[in-house]
């Protein structure tokens, strides 16, 4: 005879150590088992889309920095790609290479944070997290060198990038490229075979391939479920068709796969950066674009394979100096769609792990 117990409701968040910001999961629990969840978000809503309608096209770039504050460079890039499509601006060769380098560095940065935070959510006491942040710090130094700030880079511009790379940048980046594989190997030694970590992450929170496709999930989360979809290959923007890299995919789509896919993607990103550093030409870094842009009437959707998934910006221009409509396709938000299906039936502890393995930034979910 099953004992009848009352389900009880637990509010995980909005202020909770593991919700990566101010996310709230209203979980109905039966003991420790999750019976139902209701994600609640909007605590960090700043009205970015509306704000953008009153800003010049250049003035929106710092705004995109603040959406997903972990991957500012990719946000900048996705946005300027959209504007370039809208205004039909050509980008100089060197700027394209710089953009690729920056975007891939940003991807490594993001995956370091994602993997570190994920292992933290599994309960490791900050060690992998701190090791990964150490390497992230090195990348942030490089970002600081080119853009002047460590988090809100505001580096991409319509038609190129704001400034050329400083002379010390490429040697430092080469140095980083040389030592990074050893660091990744260190993370793998530290945690990949750890039985407790495997027990906590393997076959946990499985996202089936069909569900991933149906929910429009993209990025490492979809790839972990076996969807071989990467915009860098599927719709090569910029000069991505010139680089050689693989798309790592997972097999089952569990939390561990999402982690390993991220680690594998870091290696691929290193490969891309290496190729880009080899081939980068000299020349101007920004094409001749008027200071105040008046794109022709029309609309454009620019997207890229952001570290978290497909990041897209949809712009409608009425010919003025500010977009008529500005819309974002935030990968963080759309990757959360399957959260309910993934969480139900697991324990609270797993809920934290699964949620951590999706890797979201609240700044982007709520915008």
């Amino acid at each position: 005879m099953a004992l009848h117990t009352e389900p009880f409701i637990l509010n995980i968040g909005p202020v909770h150590p593991s919700t990566h910001g101010v996310f709230r999961i209203r979980a109905t629990l039966d003991g420790e088992v999750i019976v139902d969840i209701e994600p609640v978000f909007g605590y960090l809503h700043r009205g970015v889309e509306k704000l953008a309608e009153q800003r010049t096209y250049t003035g929106i770039i710092p705004l995109t920095d603040r959406m997903d504050y972990i991957t500012s460079m990719s946000n900048n890039l996705a946005y300027v790609l959209a504007v370039e499509k809208l205004a039909k601006v050509k980008v100089p060769e060197r700027a394209e290479y710089i953009r690729v380098i920056m975007a891939e560095m940003q991807r490594i940065c993001n995956h370091l944070v994602a993997a570190g935070a994920f292992i933290n959510d599994c309960g490791a006491f900050f060690t992998p997290f701190l090791y990964m942040f150490r390497e992230r710090e090195k990348l942030m130094d490089l970002f600081e060198m080119v853009s002047g700030q460590r988090l809100t880079y505001n580096y991409m511009r319509v038609g190129g990038v704001s400034q050329d790379l400083p002379a010390e940048f490429l040697p430092a980046l080469r140095k980083f490229l040389k030592e990074m594989p050893a660091h990744i190997a260190e993370y793998e030694r530290l945690i990949n075979d750890n039985e407790i970590f495997l027990a906590r992450s393997r076959m946990i929170g499985i996202l089936p391939k069909e569900l991933a496709i149906n929910c429009g999930i993209s990025g490492p989360v979809a790839r972990a479920s076996g969807v071989k979809w990467d915009l860098r290959k599927a719709d090569p923007y910029g000069i991505y068709d010139r680089f050689e890299f693989d798309i790592p995919t997972g097999t089952v789509g569990d939390a561990n796969d999402r982690y390993t896919v991220r680690i594998a993607e870091m290696k691929q990103s290193l490969r891309i950066i290496e190729q880009a550093v080899e081939k980068i030409p000299a020349g101007p870094v920004i094409s001749d674009v008027p200071k105040v842009l008046h794109p022709p009437v029309g609309e454009a959707y620019g997207h890229l394979e952001g570290p978290k998934g497909e990041l897209g910006f949809y712009l409608v221009s009425d010919g003025g100096i500010a977009p008529y409509r500005f819309h974002v396709r935030p990968p963080s938000l759309i990757n959360l769609t399957a959260l309910r299906q993934m969480l139900i039936g697991w324990k609270i502890q797993d809920a934290i792990t699964i949620f951590g393995s999706i890797d979201i930034t609240m700044g982007e979910v709520d915008r």
Partner: protein
């Protein structure tokens, strides 16, 4: 003076005070070791500003915490909320009564010392459950539930693991057990027992990877979420005092306690205790946390059978090779081999990825 010490009451009072001050002082040391050691392993430095090498950091923290406002939630069961830290704290101090610092230097040489340790030690979980229940906070309650579950399960392998030692030593008195390790510490004769005991002790005192009840990434702070000020300090103290007690017990029954060459016995004892604690810090730095059902499974499916097998093996060995002269090399080799084989084969039975419960919405 000597007459004063001859008075048993004075004797007891004096040494009790001494012991409590030792425990509290050593807790400061543990906190220092934990924070600096962990910091160093995490590529940081740890606190190094307060006092020389940051030695006074724990003092500064204690002062800060004591000056904090004591907040009691409006819906809390006030009396229980108030009592809980005390109920949790007192039994931990009682454990130190049977810890031999030197030959015979202990408050009470009970002939059932080891049994006393576990009998007393698990009382503090009552205090923890009281804290979780009375806070009227769901996180606290979950933490408290987990604590009870883990204590109930881990008590068994914990006690079974030392039966091997008791068989070898032929006594339950902690002092006698240390004396029995004059030639060789029991960790070499009881490797499996040591591993099980260490893991179960970590679970018993809620240290990582079994620190489910205060799981900071899941339950905010678990059972002491709603505690602040002095009471929080009490719980913090309990955590480290328990760790100290367990490390002292481990060094007593497995590492040879105060036995050792050159150094004075009490120093040996302290070195072993703190060394043991460093190992705990080390595991805490490295491991993620297990899940509650995995915790249970580990206790019942892994540690319990292995502890039972260990007892049988030890008993057979004692019958076959009764008290060998010199170093019992055969015993050591056989025991390590048995431990290795058992752990490898038994771990094949544990598999990943179970634990999903089919639920229906009611």
């Amino acid at each position: 003076m000597t007459e004063l010490f001859a008075n048993p009451w004075f004797h007891w009072a004096f040494y009790t005070v001494l012991l409590i001050s030792f425990a509290l002082g050593a807790v400061m040391g543990l906190i220092y070791i934990e924070r600096r050691g962990m910091g160093r392993m995490q590529s940081r430095l740890g606190p190094n500003r307060t006092g020389p090498f940051g030695l006074l950091q724990a003092v500064a923290d204690a002062v800060k915490v004591l000056l904090k406002e004591d907040i009691v939630p409006a819906n809390a069961d006030k009396v229980v909320h108030w009592l809980a830290p005390i109920v949790a704290f007192v039994p931990v101090l009682l454990i130190f009564a049977v810890v031999p610092f030197m030959n015979g230097a202990m408050l009470a040489d009970l002939n059932i010392g080891i049994l006393y340790v576990f009998a007393i030690g698990s009382i503090s979980s009552v205090g923890i459950f009281m804290a979780g229940w009375s806070s009227s906070n769901k996180y606290s309650l979950l933490g408290a539930m987990r604590d009870v579950a883990s204590i109930v399960s881990y008590e068994i392998p914990l006690v079974l693991a030392i039966i091997g030692v008791v068989i070898l030593a032929g006594s339950l008195s902690t002092n006698e057990i240390v004396k029995a390790q004059a030639n060789i510490p029991f960790i070499l004769l009881q490797p499996l027992g040591f591993i099980i005991f260490f893991a179960a002790a970590c679970a018993e005192i809620n240290r990582s990877p079994f620190d489910l009840l205060e799981a900071d990434s899941e339950l905010v702070a678990g059972f002491h979420t709603e505690y602040s000020g002095m009471k929080f300090a009490m719980f913090y103290l309990v955590e480290y005092a328990e760790a100290l007690a367990m490390c002292a017990i481990i060094s007593t029954i497995f590492l040879g306690g105060w036995q050792g060459p050159v150094l004075p016995p009490w120093l040996w004892f302290l070195v072993k205790t703190f060394g043991m604690f460093y190992v705990m810090v080390w595991t805490r730095t490295t491991f993620p946390r297990v899940r509650i059902d995995q915790l249970m499974a580990l206790a019942w499916k892994f540690m319990l059978p292995l502890a039972l097998i260990n007892i049988v093996v030890t008993a057979i060995e004692v019958v076959i090779w009764p008290t060998p002269a010199g170093l019992p090399w055969v015993l050591i080799i056989v025991n390590f081999a048995v431990a290795g084989i058992l752990i490898v084969t038994w771990s094949r039975l544990m598999k990943y990825g179970w634990g999903r419960v089919e639920t229906t919405l009611r």
